[in-house]
Symmetry: C2
Subunit: 308 residues, 2 copies
């Protein structure tokens, strides 16, 4: 799957992933109204609204980007109906040829981590049969519990030729609280980065490992360092756009081959019609606004990479 991701990025010239993190306040009124008419103001109604909203965006952008990243929390908040919408979104995106990165930030130990891994990337055994649960292509993983937590994911990745992105340096303001603490003179995120490189060594695709990393666009200097610490790890970079990261900040996350990073934008794309810049599209044409925002983001990143 890492090979497929690399190929699609090259073919589309777009190291970009669109974060499908729907919030009710992003969903245009005509969609919410129709969903509530059908299901009432219920969890099912909310789930229908975010699913229809997602579908519109995916239809408008699937030919421009290699991948999407649904954030499961935004679905899980609506309980079971929300998770049904998550599952439908994953399935629909895969039908459209998109690589799906499940932003689930799971992490536990032993058989528990294995359960998350089979539920999201692999197949679970039921009697003599086996079934995919959510079936994303990649997921994000929290490393705080150490190798016991990550190895079960790697095992499933090898079986399924899928991948993970391990949280190394997250994009939020307080990420330094623990991640920046100095251990033997090195920040903890560097120690985690070194471990990501090790975990990835024996599950290589053609040029990059199945084991990637998450490093926030908001920390370009740290990205520069981590790029060198984990040369074979693809870096998933959140924090572009709404969180403050800019195209020029991103060049250090890429390798000399122009690869090695994929930049996420969520609300900057999916709620583009709510920005002044794209307001002329209006709520009815929200998906076209998202398409335009993707085109603009592609140009911003391509020009930043050309000028480095």
């Amino acid at each position: 799957m890492i090979n497929k991701l690399v190929e699609k990025i090259q073919k589309m010239n777009a190291p970009i992933v669109v974060g499908l993190d729907p919030m009710m306040k992003f969903v245009p009124e005509h969609i919410t109204k129709k969903a509530f008419e059908e299901y009432g103001e219920t969890l099912e109604g909310a789930a229908e609204a975010i699913w229809q909203y997602n579908k519109g965006i995916v239809d408008a952008i699937y030919d421009l980007v290699p991948a999407v990243k649904p954030q499961i929390a935004m679905y899980e908040q609506f309980g079971i109906p929300g998770l049904v919408a998550f599952h439908k979104t994953v399935e629909y995106c895969k039908q459209k040829g998109l690589v799906v990165i499940g932003d689930i930030k799971r992490g536990d130990i032993g058989s528990t981590s294995e359960a998350y891994a089979v539920g999201h990337l692999g197949k679970v055994a039921v009697g003599s049969k086996s079934y995919y649960g959510f079936d994303e292509d990649f997921v994000t993983v929290n490393p705080y519990l150490g190798s016991d937590g990550v190895n079960p994911f790697i095992k499933v990745c090898k079986e399924e030729k899928k991948g993970i992105f391990v949280l190394v340096k997250t994009s939020n303001p307080s990420s330094g609280e623990f991640q920046d603490r100095l251990v033997d003179g090195k920040p903890l995120y560097e120690i985690v980065g070194e471990q990501v490189a090790k975990w990835g060594e024996d599950c290589m695709g053609d040029s990059y490992s199945y084991v990637g990393a998450v490093v926030g666009a908001t920390y370009p200097e740290q990205g520069k360092l981590l790029r060198k610490v984990m040369p074979k790890a693809f870096i998933l970079v959140p924090g572009y756009g709404a969180q403050g990261g800019k195209g020029a900040d991103l060049v250090h996350f890429f390798n000399e081959d122009g690869l090695g990073a994929i930049i996420n934008s969520s609300r900057g794309i999916i709620a583009a019609y709510q920005q002044e810049k794209y307001a002329q599209f209006g709520g009815l044409n929200y998906a076209e606004a998202s398409r335009q925002a993707v085109l603009d983001m592609k140009e911003d990143i391509a020009s930043a990479l050309a000028n480095r």
Copy 2:
């Protein structure tokens, strides 16, 4: 909810939580057979089997222990049907008067962490209405992302009078890989523990905070230290029994008042009938074996506390 937990622990003289972490290999044949006859060897069949299995255990133990801790990964691996079984289990346990600790180990940033918090502890808004998603009483939270990840949970805890247990020092062998690294001469888990104490300061119940911690029974020395670092934090202690922790290891996790810790056992209770010690019960009477295992665990812990 922390007050309710403390009261129930005192009333039942049982600082014990039963981990409802069903694996198909634990489920007795008569239950699996019936579920597969009704639903086939499907995800629905597996979900029905673990739900009926749970129900039998809960009916057998609800009068002996204050709390249960369903591990969501064990349900999530069966996709949507598995999560429906999780939700049914949470609801059923609450009907039986049990405090429910959702072992979900979630953690993200800002609005995303808030979505997890409202989905598991609070109510999500849908138009003019609002709904509980999974509605546990407590959840476990991963601190790697810092205060941005934890504060949204604390906000919901204050609104709902619920609580969280933050991962500090986990019970697994490789937990030291990052958690034990020395920062200014102190292990990282101590730094996290100090932060747990701070987070908990302004959301106190009568004697303990809504913000608790997870510290593994397998690390009694660290437990002793962390007990002092976070005097007002209730400590959820996994790793007793199957993972190697013993009653005598546990005394240091308690305060002088005999409170402040709740010890989890999962497979040691729920799959007791598969141990030689309880084999005479057989699969048909698996729930009675679980009841006996709870009684034995209560005695082990009470005698350890009496002898300290």
